[in-house]
Structures are given as structure tokens and as C-alpha cells.
Symmetry: C2
Subunit: 490 residues, 2 copies
Amino acid sequence: MNYKQFHQRLKKINDISNACSVLSWDAETYMPPKSHKLRGQQVGTLSSLAHEMLTNRKFGDEIQKLLEDETLSENERKNVEIIYNQYLKAKKIPSKFVEEIAALTTEAHPAWVKAKAASDFSVFAPYLKKVASMTKQKAELLGYDNHPYDALIDGYDRGMTCKKVEEVFEKFLPGLKNILQKVQGKPAARVDFLEDRAYPVDTQMQLSKMLSAAIGFDYTRGRLDTAAHPFSTSFHPDDVRMTTRLDEYKLFDGIGSTLHESGHSMHSQGLLTEYYGLPQGEYTNLSTAESQSRIWENNIGRSRAFVSWMYPILRATFPVQFSDVSEDECYAGLNIVKPDFIRVEADELTYHMHIVLRFEAEKAMITGELEVDDLPDFWNAKMKEYLGVDVPNDTKGCLQDVHWAHGSMGYFPTYSFGTMYAAQYDAAMRKEMDVDTLAAMGNFTPMKKWLNKNIHEAGDLYGSSELCKKVTGEGLNPNYLLRYLEAKFL
Amino acid sequence: MNYKQFHQRLKKINDISNACSVLSWDAETYMPPKSHKLRGQQVGTLSSLAHEMLTNRKFGDEIQKLLEDETLSENERKNVEIIYNQYLKAKKIPSKFVEEIAALTTEAHPAWVKAKAASDFSVFAPYLKKVASMTKQKAELLGYDNHPYDALIDGYDRGMTCKKVEEVFEKFLPGLKNILQKVQGKPAARVDFLEDRAYPVDTQMQLSKMLSAAIGFDYTRGRLDTAAHPFSTSFHPDDVRMTTRLDEYKLFDGIGSTLHESGHSMHSQGLLTEYYGLPQGEYTNLSTAESQSRIWENNIGRSRAFVSWMYPILRATFPVQFSDVSEDECYAGLNIVKPDFIRVEADELTYHMHIVLRFEAEKAMITGELEVDDLPDFWNAKMKEYLGVDVPNDTKGCLQDVHWAHGSMGYFPTYSFGTMYAAQYDAAMRKEMDVDTLAAMGNFTPMKKWLNKNIHEAGDLYGSSELCKKVTGEGLNPNYLLRYLEAKFL
């Protein structure tokens, strides 16, 4: 197998997993209500097929041989190495174990839905116990140096370890808490126009399309639809689909969600099609991925400059609802800080406390330091400690996120890291262009191109910190986010 | 391999081809404009995969062995036999030939689009020559007893032959021409409300959904969307998608198209899920398939009784446009007979002359009796002879259909045969229930259930004529259609 054949083979595997993605996108958008069962089966068939092709021993042997090919360029070798490591990792997990996890998730998800609806943790607890113990097993199968959590987070952010996560948070949290404390003394922003006025969702959809197109999402190679949970998915850089959630009484949540998903989707559209199938033409690193959504949602999308561009658009789109709202009030409304129970509704400051809590809970559940049955108490005590709020019930507490019901542990820290990278990339970009002046004029092309060139076109060749070092001159450094938050909120 | 494993294997193959269908449906409905290239590649990967799985020699050997299993029930044996024959047929076509046909089609389709737009047959002629010669080669590879056309039509209507088609048309055409002649002396129907009044497409879409739901299409297991060319596709009996084409100035075309596709889709929804993957749970026979669309579009949908039910709905839906239209005028408008150039817009009488013309052209091109360059003259002369019309240009003549550009020859006769079967099934159904009284009340459930039980639940176990004999007591007999047309039009 030469490099071209290697690439050809990966293209085929990717065609199959991307077909899965089409089926999943369809399931979340247009699929009829009673078609779920068969769709699960069809996606199952395709994903096992892709998995079989990737873990095929003959293929593995050929990749290993290809590594010895001295004519490979540096990037080609990197591509081969990454796939070989994926192959080795996948081989460590017996297919029987994969099936067991899939079966568990199939049961755990509806149990979680039921538990959340009834705010009854005991319904979900038995499944969460199994998820924690199987996740631990998975970590053992994959192997790790210091902490089982290493093996998990590495799957979402290649090269990341538990220790590094702890170090970053240790550096970040005192500063964050300090800002939070100071902000809470400030007068509250005006909220009546956000909470009591209706913004028809059809008009919000038009606005969402306009804003996403303005910042650079290419509608000839993608679409925006609505779904219960906003997400982005890509079948190829030339076909990227995103969804948003629009609520008549949550205008700014809808805008935030659209800008967030646009950031992800512009990342996907910015990958180079010539590398389709190769790591260089994909991304799996969720911290880098999250940096691309957060930079548009927060660093640019909630900036004073962006608001000065968007404010007249909002007034024109909603002339009645915005008749008595000033630009300042609009900006303040986009940047309200308020400790609350729900992670996905959290502001730029309190958000990270939610992540720390989950990181601590996951670590403790996996090592057994925390019994699953004690999770609600643990959760509520931490919420009180970190954010000073009393969690009223488990629906608004430890049952709020779907991740564990999907069998995913080790994922949450990438949300904070992505936000940190976003601030770091934002700072680097501002050295090269006047982002505020450009944003105020509605000229987002230079920023999009900068991200294309520096982040997107690298695909998955580098780990998140490695890429950051390449682009900004230093690896992950939470001080950029602290400085950004201080500048905005203090 | 036992029967259960055989079924399991077919399920997987079907999961893959159904995933292809999802990708193709998406391409016709929601895919962004610039995503076509990659989608072609992804569909190509999946369909070769399904083809490889079906033509796998080991699988073939195992099927052959399974045929010797004496514990198989009669239906199980039939399922195995049908798949074994599919396997043997597929093995006769070298994969290189499949790729060549696919490559030819990839070039022929855009050439046809261009030729049709410019009404310039010479642009398409070189491709049509290749299509004709490769189709001839395909027939030789597959083998046939009497005429190469046998091998082609067998692929669309198992067991059908060129001779049988000729015999049926010989029996049918004199009667049809006789009716046509008599009808043309009759006074013309009122058309102003159909041609000069606008019917907003959004409202037409609501009406389409209402009508299709009324006759029995299940919207919890299917959807209706709009597309440039109406079609039905199924990913499983629990997920059936249809599309319709709505034009502001063609209300009745839209209704006809929706009822037609609903008939196809109710066929798909009526297949038994327990046989998913097996011939018994699918259908490939296009004549039977067409009988299910035509029976709802024509025999029921254009009947006096249906109009008496639909008329008040139309008046309520379009109160202004229908303010001066009587029920009689509505019925007459749905049943206008007018010889014209375009097959897909043809009425119930002239339609079959279009089919005969194509059947004759295909036969003659394959045997070489007709040079492709002479097709336009052949076509126009036949149109003059059969329908008395002068074809103004090739766009409205021999370039109107997409089939040949897709490499499909041998397909057209199933359109007429389906219509004949529809009349035959309609007659059989009317022996068991008072279809007119039920339709006039808007109670379509008994008809739907009759079709479910007699046609849909048989899947693909029987050839079209064999099934017809099982259900009505005799094989294909065009006299039923003649009697139906006489009763309606004379």
C-alpha cells in the first residue's frame, strides 16, 4: 500500500462515516417521528462497517509498513502516524466491549430522559454506575500513565492529561473567582426586552441566516435548520449542516447559539477538500473545535464592536420590540452575568465553574472516591460553594447534561479549554488586524480568513496545545481568557 | 448459513442501500447547491459496497447451499431463489462494465440537460449511441431467449418479455384508438379556472398533505416535500419519503402528482417490516409499483365519486378561485383529453401512445434497425401518426425524458402495464366493496386495507402477472383498462 492507496482507503471509510452523519442529521431534523428504531439499526450497520474497515488487521499491517516508507513528506508521515495510533487504540477495545457500551447507552439514554423529566436521580443511578465502571474499564484497556482520566480525555483532546487539566484550572480559577466576585456587586442590566417581549421564531430564523452568512458561513455549501439541541455536522467541507434552537422569548440565546454553531461549521467548511479522509482534512480535537465556536459566539459576537454593527439590524428586524432599547442596553443584555443552575445557559464567567464541577465529579466517580449514589449531594454542595446557588432539584442539577447518558466521560474540560484557546487566538489575531473596527463595519472576512489559514487548514495534524503554540507562539495559557474577561467585565 | 443468517445478511445489505437512498433523497430536497460532487462520491462508495456484498462469491455459494435446505417453507424458498437469481444476474455483469456504464451515465446526463435546454439533439446523440450500444452489450451479458429487449425489461418486471409486451399492446391499442377518436369529437371542458387563476403553492402543499393523509399515507412514518421531479423513496416501511411538484398555475397537476406518489408511498409503508431485507419485504417490480400509484391517481382520484368528496374541500381551500366553478366543471377539468407532446402531462388516454412510441424506439435502437441520428425524425413521424400532433422541437420531442440519459432502456412499458394492472385491481376491489360510495364519503381505509392485504404484503415474492393472477384470478389483461376508459370517456 502506497500513500495514495492509503488515502483512497481512508476516503472510503470516511464516506461511510459521513453517510452515518447524514442519517443522524436527518434524524434530528426531518425524520418522521416513528422512524427512529430502523434508523438506529441502519446507523449501527454503517458505523460497524466503518469500524471494521479501520481495525482490519491487514490494513493495520500495511499502515505499519507504510510508516517505513522514506519517500513520505513530513505531513504525510504525520497523517500515517495519527491513523496508525487510532488503529492501535481501536484494536485495544474488543468489539464485544464496544457492543456492550452501545447496548448500555441504548438503555441509559431513555433512563436519563425519564429521570430528568421526573427529577428522580434513582432512575438514572444504576445506569450511571455502569457507565462509570465501564468507562473505568475502557481506560484500563486503553492504558494510561498516571490517572485513568488520561485515557479518556486523550480521546477528545489528543495528548491532554488529567494532570494538565488540573494545572490549567489551578492557574485559572483564582483569577476567575476574583472577577466573578467583583462583577456581582455591579448594577443589574435591563432584561425586560429580553424576557417579556416576543420575537417570532420565523423572523429569528431569517436573522440567524443573515448573521451567519455575514460572518462567513457559506450557504452554497451548507444549511441551517432548527433542532431540539443545536449541533453542527459535516459530511464533507462542501456540505456542512448546522442547527440552532429558537425560542420566542429568548432572542439572545438564539443569536448566541447560531453564532456558536456557525463557528463550528466555518471550521468544517474551512478544511481542505484535497485532504478529505486524512487527519489533515478532518478534525477530532474538541478543544480546538470549541475555540472556533467560542471565538465567534463570545470574543467577537458579544463584543461592543459587534453590537454596534448588529444593533441597527436588530432595530430594523424587530422595530416594535426594540423601539425603546438603546445600543448600550443591547450590549449589556448580551453580557449579563448571573450565577445559575444550568450550564448551557451560563454566562462567560460562571460557565467554567460548571465545567470544573463536572471534571471533579467524573474523576471521583471513575476512581471510586465518589459513590454514584452520592452524586446529587456532591453536586449541590459544589454548586453552593462555587456559585452560591441552591440547586432546587436534580433536573436542574446533576441530571441536566446528556453526556454521561451517552457514555461520554472526559469530554467536559474541552469546553473550558476551547474557550481559553479562543481568547488566545483572538489575542493573536488582534495583533495582525483591528478586529473591532472590522466587526463594527460588518467586515468579518479578514477574521474568517485568518482562522481558515491558521486553524482550519491544519486539520487534525496537531494536538490542541501544539497547534496553539504553532499559531500564537505558546501553548495553552489561561491568562489570555482571564485578561479578556477582566477587560470586558471589570 | 441458515435462513436466519441469510436474512441477517440481507438486512445489512439493505441498510447500506437504504442509506444510499437517504443520501439521494437529501440530494433532491435539502442538500446545498454546491455539494453534489462529493455526494456522488459517497453514494458511489456505498452502492459499490452493497453490490460487493451481494455478489460475494462465498455468499453466493452459501445461498446455493441454502436452496438445498429441506426445512425451508415455501415462501422462504422463494425468497432464497429470488436472491440467488439476483446474485447470478449480478455476477454476469463484470464490475468493470458496471463502472463503464456509471461513467457513461455521469457524462450522458449533463449532455442531455444541455441538449434539452438548447433543443439540440446532436449534443446528446453521441451519448445516446453509447447508451444504446452498451445496453445491447448488457443484454448479451445477461442473456435472453428471443430478443435482447427481454433481458432489459426483465430487470424492471421480472419474467416480462418483448413478445409479451407486443402482444399486450396489439390487444390494447385498437380499442384505445377507437376511444380516442370518439372522445375527440366531444365539446371541450372549461379550463379558465385551471390555467388563468393562481393557487398559492403553500396552500397547495397544505392541501396535498391533507389529501394524502386522507387516502392513507401515514405521516408518522413518512414525509412529503417538494422537488423538481416528483418521486417516492423508502428507507424502510417506517420511513417513506415522497415529493411532489407544485406550480401556482397547475393545481390539478399538483393534486395528481401527490396522489400518484402517495400511492407509491402507501405501497412502501404497506410492506411488512418483519421481512425487511428479503424480497418478501421489498418490491422491485415496477409494473406492480405503477399499479399502486395509478389506482389512486386515476381510478380513484379522477373518479366522479372522489370529486364529489374533494369538491367542497377545494371550494373551502380556494374560495375565491373556485367561487364560480361547479362540481361538474371540476370533474371535467380533471379529465381533459388532449393529444400533446409531453408524456408526463398526458391524459389517461393519450398517455399510452407515448409509451408505445418509446417502446418501439428502444427496440429499434437496440437492434440497430433505427440509427440514433434518425431518432428525431422517427419520433416526430410517430407522434403525427399516433396523436396527430406536429412536434415543434426536440425538447418537446425525443429529448423530453431523462430515462435514456440515466442509461435505462426497457423501463417505459411498465408505465402502461402498471396502469392496466391498476384497472384490473380496481375492478377486483369493486367486487368486494362499493368504492364509489366509500370515496364519496372520504372513507378510503377499506381500499387501502385491500391493497395492503392483496398487493403490498406480498412484497416481491411474485412477478407482476403472477401476483395479478393470484389476486384477480387472471394474469395481465388490458381489457380491464379499456372497459374503465370506455365507461369514463364514452
